[in-house]
C-alpha cells in the first residue's frame, strides 16, 4: 500500500514539475513575442509543442507568432489545432478568419454542417453522448427495480432516448469529419501540386502559403490533395502541415 502511495505521489509531483517547466517556457516565449522577436517566439512555442504538451493558448500563441513571422500556413495550422481543443474561443476564430483573409488564391472552406458540428470538440461530443446514454440505461434499470414508477418515468425515458440518438448522430458526424476529412495546410511559399507522387511529375496546380486543401490519399512522403476548384494533385509532406478534420 505504501509503495502504491509513493508511486502516485511521484507521478503527481512529476506532472507538477513538468507543468511548471512548460509554464516557464511558455512565459519565455511570450516575452520573445512581446519583444517583437516573432520568429524566435514561434520556434520557442514549437519547441514546447514538440514535447507533447498542448493547450489552446499554446497553439493560439504559436499561431500568432507564426503569422507575425510571415508564415501564414504555419499560423493557420496552429490555429486549427487550437480550434480542435477550444472550438468556441471567439479570439481564436477572429484570428483564424483574419489570417485566412490574407491567403491568396483558392482555399478549402468548411461546409456549414462541418462548422456546426465543430462547435463542440470531439471529446465534448463523446462525453455528452455518454451522459445521455448512461442516463437512458439508468432510467431503464430503475423501471425494472421499481415498476410502479414506470408511468412517471415514461416522459423522461423518451427524452433520454431522443437526446441519446441526437447526440450520437452528432458524435458520428464529428468522428467521420475528424478521422476521414484530413486537411493539408500549405506551409511552403508556393507549392506545386504534381500529377503523381514524384518530384519530376507534371505540375497540375499551384497552392500558395496558407491554402487549405482536402487530403484524398497518402503515399510515402506525399499527400494527394484537392483544392476548392476540384483540381487534384500530389504535394510533398514537407510543403504542408497535415491536420485531422475538425
Amino acid at each position: 500500500m505504501k509503495n502504491w502511495l509513493s508511486i502516485l505521489l511521484a507521478v503527481v509531483c512529476a506532472g507538477k514539475i513538468l507543468a511548471a517547466d512548460v509554464a516557464a517556457d511558455f512565459a519565455s516565449a511570450n516575452k520573445l513575442y512581446a519583444e517583437g522577436k516573432f520568429a524566435d517566439a514561434a520556434t520557442a512555442y514549437q519547441k514546447i509543442l514538440a514535447t507533447g504538451s498542448q493547450s489552446p493558448a499554446l497553439f493560439f500563441n504559436a499561431g500568432n507568432a507564426e503569422f507575425k513571422a510571415g508564415h501564414l500556413g504555419e499560423a493557420i495550422a496552429a490555429y486549427r489545432q487550437a480550434e480542435l481543443l477550444s472550438p468556441r474561443d471567439a479570439e481564436l476564430r477572429a484570428n483564424l478568419a483574419f489570417v485566412r483573409n490574407q491567403v491568396q488564391g483558392a482555399t478549402l472552406r468548411e461546409s456549414s454542417w462541418q462548422k456546426w458540428v465543430s462547435t463542440l470538440t470531439l471529446n465534448e461530443g463523446a462525453i455528452l453522448t455518454a451522459i445521455f446514454f448512461w442516463a437512458l440505461f439508468a432510467l431503464l434499470a430503475l423501471r425494472q427495480f421499481k415498476p410502479t414508477l414506470a408511468p412517471k418515468l415514461q416522459a423522461a425515458t423518451r427524452l433520454a432516448v431522443a437526446l441519446t440518438i441526437f447526440s450520437g448522430a452528432i458524435l458520428g458526424l464529428q468522428a467521420a469529419n475528424h478521422f476521414n476529412s484530413s486537411v493539408a495546410v500549405v506551409t511552403a511559399s508556393d507549392a506545386s501540386a504534381r500529377s503523381g507522387p514524384f518530384d519530376d511529375a507534371q505540375n497540375i496546380f499551384s497552392a500558395r502559403d496558407g491554402a487549405e486543401l482536402k487530403i484524398l490519399d497518402r503515399h510515402d512522403d506525399w499527400v494527394q490533395v484537392a483544392n476548392s476548384t476540384g483540381k487534384i494533385g500530389w504535394l510533398s509532406v514537407k510543403q504542408v502541415a497535415v491536420l485531422p478534420g475538425a
Partner: protein, 590 residues
C-alpha cells in the same frame, strides 16, 4: 508395305515437291490502280499498290502537289491455283484532292523479290462540285440535290443562327444511305454539329417531280465581321433507284432490289453580311453576350461574421451563344472573391437555349459591408439591334466583426465595430495542458465503459424476471420459504440439544417434519401426522429406509411428550438423523 519402304516413298515425294516449288511460284509484278478516276472536290479515292509474287523491300509513297495521300491499310492474299502458288500484298492509300484540276500520279518503283519494278502513271480528274441549275431541278432530272437556307441576310458578330441544309430525294428513290457531308466551308462562323430535324421530313413538289425533303439543322455563330461566305456545302450519298432491266414482269418486280447509284451533291454559296456590334449605347459592363436573356440571382447567408463565405448564385437564361456568356465584373471591392464555378444546362439540341449558372463565393472583408451590391448583366439583342441591361437589387447583409460573435467570453466593444486591422494579442495564461492526443471515442477504455450501463440494465432486467417468476409460482415460493425455515430450524435444534431442552427440541423437530412433508406432498403442514407415511401415495412409493426413518422420527416426537428427559448426546443424534432424513425427503418427487 514395311516401314523401310514407307520411309523411302515419303522421301521421294518430298524431294519431288522441293524440285517443283521454284517453278510453282509466279513471276513478281507491281501494279497501281485507282478505284475511280474522277472526283468532286471534297471526295476521296483509293489508290491500291499491289505487289504480286513477293514483298517489297520498301513501299513507295506517292507525292503529287494538290493531292493528299494517307496510308489506309495493308492486306495480303495467298492462293494456290493449278499447283501454282500466288501471293499478293496490297497497300491502300486514301487520296484526297485539295483543289480542282487534272492530276497525274507518276510511275512508282519498288524492289520486289530482288527485281526493280515500276507502275504505269495514273490520271485523276478533280472537279468542283456545283449546285444544279434551277432548270435541271425543275425538270426533275436530278435524282437528289442539296439546298442551303440561312434565315437572315445580315447577322451581328456573336449572333447564333440555325441554318438549314435541305436534302431533296426524288420520289423514285427507294432508299438512300452513306450520306456524308464532304465539305462544309463556314469561314467566319463557328459551326456546331449538323443534325437531322426529327419528324420534319415532308414531300414537296419541285418543278415536274415530287421530292422528299430532309432538313438538317446547322447551328452557326458569327465570329467575324464583314462579308462572309457560307458554302458551297458538298455531300455524297448512295441512292437506290428502281432497276431498269426487269421489264413489267410482276414476278421480277417482286424481287426488284433496285440499283445503287453514288451521287455527289452541292449547295450554292451564300453571302452573309456580319455586322459589328454598335459602339453607341454600349454598357460599360457588356462582356459580349448576344441573344435574349433573363437574369436571376440569390445570395446566402446574409447574417454572418467577417471572413465567412457567402454563396452568390447567378442564373442567366435565354437564347444565344451561352457558351461565351461570362459574368461581368461586379462591385465587390469590399469582398474577397474566389474563382466562380459555372454550369451550363441547355434545353435545345444546338446548345443555344438554356441556363448558365455561376456560383461565386465571396467573403466580406470588414463589417462596414451592409449589402451585396446590385448585380447587373448586359447583352445585345440582335433582333432589335439594341443593348439591354438586367439588374438584380442589392442584397442586404448583417456582417459582424470577427471575434464579435455572441459568446460570453468576449464582450462586444467599440473597437470591434471597426474592420480588424490585425490579429488579437497572445494569451498570457497557458491554461490546462491536454493529457492525451487520442480522442475519447478512439480509447478502448472509454468504449468499454459504455458497456457498464447496458450490463447494469441487463442485471436489473434478469432480476425483475426472476422476481416475477417467483410471484407467479406459489409452489416455488413455499419451497423457498420451507427451505429457509428448515435452515433456521436446524440451528434451533442444535441450540436446544446443547441446552438439553428436550420439549422445545422435539416440538421444533415435529414442526419441521410437518413443514417439509407438507411442502413435498403439497398439502397443509397441519394435516401432516405419522399416518401420512402409510396413507400418502408419494410416501408409499418412497424407499423403505426413508419411510422407516420418518416413522421413527414421528415416534420419537410422540414419545417425548410422555418421557421428555433425554441427554444432549441423544438429542444431537436425533438431529443428525433428521438432517439425513431431510436430504432424502427433498429428493422425493412430489
Amino acid at each position: 508395305m514395311d516401314a523401310t519402304k514407307m520411309r523411302l516413298t515419303l522421301k521421294t515425294l518430298a524431294m519431288l515437291l522441293i524440285a517443283l516449288l521454284p517453278s510453282a511460284t509466279w513471276a513478281a509484278s507491281f501494279t497501281a490502280s485507282l478505284d475511280r478516276d474522277t472526283l468532286t472536290l471534297g471526295e476521296s479515292a483509293t489508290l491500291s499498290l499491289a505487289f504480286e509474287g513477293g514483298s517489297p523491300s520498301r513501299v513507295p509513297t506517292p507525292s503529287v502537289s494538290g493531292l493528299q495521300f494517307a496510308q489506309a491499310g495493308t492486306s495480303q492474299n495467298m492462293s494456290w491455283i493449278n499447283g501454282a502458288m500466288s501471293s499478293t500484298v496490297t497497300v491502300s492509300f486514301s487520296v484526297t484532292p485539295q483543289r480542282e484540276g487534272e492530276f497525274s500520279i507518276p510511275a512508282l518503283t519498288a524492289d520486289v523479290g530482288g527485281q526493280q519494278l515500276a507502275t504505269a502513271p495514273l490520271k485523276l480528274v478533280v472537279s468542283r462540285a456545283s449546285a444544279p441549275s434551277a432548270a435541271a431541278v425543275n425538270s426533275g432530272s436530278e435524282v437528289a440535290f442539296l439546298k442551303l437556307n440561312f434565315p437572315k441576310q445580315k447577322v451581328y458578330a456573336g449572333e447564333s443562327v440555325v441554318a438549314q441544309l435541305q436534302l431533296f430525294l426524288r420520289d423514285d428513290v427507294q432508299n438512300f444511305g452513306n450520306f456524308q457531308i464532304t465539305s462544309s466551308p463556314t469561314d467566319g462562323f463557328s459551326a456546331g454539329k449538323t443534325a437531322e430535324l426529327q419528324n420534319q421530313r415532308r414531300r414537296v413538289q419541285v418543278g415536274n417531280r415530287v421530292y422528299t425533303q430532309i432538313p438538317l439543322a446547322l447551328p452557326l455563330t458569327a465570329v467575324k465581321t464583314g462579308e462572309l461566305q457560307l458554302g458551297p456545302f458538298t455531300a455524297s450519298a448512295v441512292v437506290v433507284l428502281p432497276a431498269q432491266n426487269q421489264g413489267g414482269d410482276p414476278f421480277f418486280r417482286m424481287f426488284n432490289q433496285g440499283e445503287q447509284k453514288q451521287v455527289t451533291l452541292a449547295t450554292e454559296t451564300l453571302n452573309i453580311e456580319s455586322l459589328p456590334l454598335p459602339e453607341q449605347n454600349r454598357p460599360a459592363n457588356f462582356t459580349g453576350a448576344v441573344g435574349q436573356f433573363d437574369l436571376a440571382a440569390s445570395a446566402g447567408p446574409t447574417t454572418l461574421t467577417v471572413g465567412d463565405p457567402i454563396t452568390v448564385r447567378v442564373q442567366i437564361s435565354g437564347r444565344g451563344a451561352l457558351d461565351a456568356v461570362t459574368l461581368p465584373e461586379q462591385g465587390w471591392q469590399n469582398f474577397k472573391t474566389y474563382p466562380p464555378t459555372t454550369k451550363l444546362e441547355t434545353t435545345d439540341q444546338f446548345g443555344f437555349q438554356g441556363t448558365k449558372t455561376f456560383e461565386q463565393i465571396i467573403s466580406p472583408l470588414n463589417n462596414d459591408v451592409h449589402e451585396i451590391p446590385a448585380l447587373t448583366f448586359s447583352y445585345f439583342d440582335p433582333n432589335n439591334g439594341q443593348y439591354h441591361t438586367l439588374t438584380q437589387p442589392a442584397v442586404p447583409l448583417t456582417v459582424k466583426a470577427a471575434g464579435a460573435t455572441p459568446l460570453p467570453q468576449i464582450a462586444a466593444t467599440k473597437a470591434e465595430e471597426k474592420p480588424a486591422q490585425d490579429i488579437l494579442p497572445i494569451k498570457e495564461n497557458l491554461g490546462a495542458l491536454a493529457q492525451s492526443k487520442i480522442p475519447l471515442v478512439a480509447q478502448p477504455a472509454f468504449l468499454a465503459a459504455q458497456a457498464m450501463p447496458v450490463l447494469a440494465f441487463l442485471g436489473a432486467f434478469i432480476w425483475r424476471k426472476r422476481a416475477d417468476n417467483l410471484a407467479n409460482n406459489p409452489r416455488l415460493r413455499r419451497q423457498r420459504a420451507v427451505a429457509a425455515l428448515v435452515a433456521s430450524g436446524k440451528d434451533e435444534l442444535k441450540k436446544y440439544a446443547a441446552a438439553n431442552q428436550s420439549d422445545e427440541f422435539f416440538a421444533t423437530l415435529f414442526r419441521l417434519l410437518q413443514e417439509q412433508l407438507g411442502e413435498r406432498l403439497d398439502c397443509p403442514a397441519t394435516a401432516i401426522t405419522e399416518n401420512v407415511v402409510e396413507e400418502n401415495s408419494i410416501l408409499r412409493n418412497a424407499p423403505a429406509t426413508t419411510r422407516d426413518a420418518l416413522r421413527e422420527q414421528f415416534q420419537l416426537c410422540n414419545q417425548a411428550r410422555y418421557a421428555p428427559v433425554r441427554g444432549t448426546a441423544e438429542l444431537n443424534s436425533v438431529a443428525a438423523q433428521f438432517e439425513k432424513l431431510l436430504g432424502e425427503l427433498q429428493n422425493l418427487k412430489s
